[in-house]
């Protein structure tokens, strides 16, 4: 049985008579432990899809107009509030794009991780030890001392590690990383991606990486989905899609990644008229 099964999902915004079709009938599956990338430009609907997986997208304004989302056999869109909350964090956990604003500035990082553990793993006695271990796993040095730090006392890269630690603390079966490196410096980006890769190898947690950058996908994801204007236009094993992209848009996206050893005066601009 698939871990996650999305079928004909449609999410609209705006007036019903003239809706914005943010997600326009997409279907995909993820197996346990699988790493998949969802690629597309801003506004293609990939973040909306990610948030919809646990109904984090508030409705209204969003409207879930069609389809179903099944996680471990349970229909997320029809789950009662209580079970939904149990799913959030322990079933599906998130790492968001902007670590500096995604952490609550008035609580210590230790407290914010503790909240997640208290909620989903009440059986744990030594919570502090568990938090230290979580921070240690994501490569934060001297985690005992960092516990009582406030988010603003950490660098952007460190904040994102804390976010990842918080997500992992509840042992989720699926980690959704929504543009986890976009807000970070290039060198830090690499560190975070390396961390995610290491985590992928250590556990059998599935990872859904959401990105607009094909460059990140190549040596990370097993499979890739390409989203364009609310639809999935291409999907397949990463190597295959990269080697032989079928859709014009995929080709354009791949060409947007600057390559080493190639002289390129300008970045490619996507020619939408040619795609549609």
């Amino acid at each position: 049985m698939a871990l996650l099964h999305v079928e004909n999902l449609g999410i609209h915004f705006g007036p019903p008579e003239d809706p914005v079709r943010a997600v326009d009938g997409i279907s995909f599956e993820m197996a346990a432990g699988e790493t998949m990338a969802l690629v597309g430009e801003s506004g293609s609907g990939k973040s909306v899809t990610a948030l919809a997986l646990t109904r984090l997208l508030a409705s209204p304004p969003a409207r879930y107009v069609s389809g179903r989302i099944e996680f471990e056999g349970r229909d997320v869109l029809r789950l009662p509030e209580r079970e939904l909350r149990a799913l959030r964090g322990s079933g599906i956990a998130y790492v968001f794009q902007e670590p500096s604003s995604s952490l609550n500035p008035v609580f210590t990082i230790g407290y914010q991780i503790r909240e997640a553990i208290d909620l989903h793993r009440p059986e744990i006695r030594d919570v502090t030890g568990e938090i230290v271990r979580a921070l240690d796993t994501v490569g934060i040095r001297e985690p005992e001392k960092r516990l009582n730090d406030y988010p603003h006392q950490l660098s952007g890269g460190m904040q994102q590690r804390v976010m990842i630690a918080m997500a992992l603390a509840c042992r989720p079966r699926l980690l959704v990383a929504d543009e986890p490196t976009t807000a970070l410096d290039v060198t830090i980006q690499k560190q975070i991606m390396d961390l995610l890769k290491a985590l992928k190898q250590q556990s059998n947690m599935a990872i859904l990486l959401i990105t607009h950058n094909f460059g990140l996908v190549a040596d990370f994801a097993d499979r890739v989905l390409v989203m364009f204007q609310g639809r999935i236009v291409e999907s397949g094993p990463t190597a295959e899609v990269l080697r032989n992209p079928q859709h014009l848009y995929t080709r354009a996206l791949i060409e947007c990644v600057p390559k080493l050893g190639q002289k390129q005066r300008r970045l490619k601009v996507i020619d939408y008229a040619g795609i549609n």
Binding site: R88, G89, F96, P105, E115
Partner: protein, 329 residues
């Protein structure tokens, strides 16, 4: 933190000098003084002075010296808490303020406390129910309350519930009934509370509506932040997301605006104490203004403004305490 405190307190000095200088010059240079100095009474007889009073006034304001020497001497006396003697009953101004401050402080204090206790839940509810009927009803009510002058509200409340033609539920004037001295302790306390209900209501609702509007906006801002999404993604119940994660952030600006309410509350106390015949500092101020009791007027003005300044200081310190992002080292 200590360095910040020291710097912040040192910055008070020029402001303190400014406050005192302004008050001093205002009262000293008032045309009334000059006329009195020439020995001529005002248009009403009560304002003519005895030689003794004139002597005291010349000493108090240094009217025979240049303004700045006089100011320096006055400041010297101020640091020794010597604000001169009242012209009305020749008692020291400090003592007169001392016996009045308690009532005003308890009035303003309870008004501020009640404002916060009611305004924050109102603001939070309005923010959660944003755009719905509940929000609209709260926002509109608060808006109307904000526009009602406190003295008009006081008069109408007296008319309606305090012995007017309609209900006679609450006493109209004063701090206690005439027979208060014969009452037992609890009876006395209940009597005092009954006398304070209307004044506190009239003093409260203005601040209440201001703070609740502020709380609503602050809460809306907090709810729109990314970390709220993180809290939900963790699986926290909505109650905790709102009352813990959002409110904790929204409270920071809400708490620190209490200092801005201080001058407003004191202004309000002048009116409310006058209407309800409460012997507080506002009423003393009012009586002194009518009697042209310049030492008392000046004393109260300086006292209140320094108190407000300390309120601003407290607000700044509180801000540092409640917001972990701000650390002045």
């Amino acid at each position: 933190m200590t360095t910040y405190l020291i710097r912040r307190i040192l910055l008070l000095v020029p402001t303190l000098l400014g406050i005192t200088l302004l008050t001093f010059l205002l009262v000293r240079e008032a045309p009334g003084n000059i006329a009195l100095m020439k020995g001529a009474g005002g248009e009403n007889g009560s304002r003519a002075m005895t030689a003794e009073q004139r002597e005291a006034m010349i000493k108090l304001y240094g009217l025979d010296k240049d303004p700045f020497t006089a100011y320096a001497e006055w400041i010297g006396r101020l640091t020794r808490l010597d604000l001169g003697d009242s012209w009305v009953d020749h008692r020291s101004v400090v003592a007169k303020i001392g016996e009045r401050i308690g009532l005003t402080a308890s009035l303003a204090g309870s008004a501020l406390l009640i404002s916060y206790l009611v305004a924050i839940p109102l603001g939070v509810i309005a923010a959660i129910k944003r755009g719905q009927v509940t929000d609209r009803a709260i926002s509109f009510t608060v808006f109307v309350l904000y526009s009602i002058p406190s003295f008009a509200a006081a008069l109408l409340l007296i008319l309606l519930v305090a012995g007017g033609d309609y209900l006679n539920l609450l006493p109209m004037y004063g701090t206690n009934s005439i027979n208060a001295s014969e009452m037992g302790r609890f009876e006395w306390l209940w009597d005092r509370i009954q006398h304070m209900i209307l004044p506190v209501i009239c003093l409260t609702y203005g601040s209440l509506s201001y703070i609740s509007r502020y709380a609503r906006v602050s809460m809306l801002e907090a709810l729109a932040q990314d970390f709220i999404r993180t809290a939900r993604a963790k699986g926290l119940p909505e109650r905790l997301v709102i009352l813990h994660h959002a409110l904790r952030n929204a409270l920071i600006p809400i708490i620190t605006i209490f200092a801005l309410e201080l001058p407003v509350l004191i202004s309000g106390a002048v009116i409310i104490e006058e209407i309800f015949s409460l012997p507080g500092m506002g009423q003393l101020m009012f009586a002194s203004l009518e009697a042209r009791d310049n030492p008392t007027i000046m004393g109260i003005t300086v006292f209140v403004s320094i108190l407000t300044l300390l309120g601003y200081l407290l607000a700044d310190i509180l801000y540092v305490v409640v917001d972990p992002r701000i650390r002045y080292e």
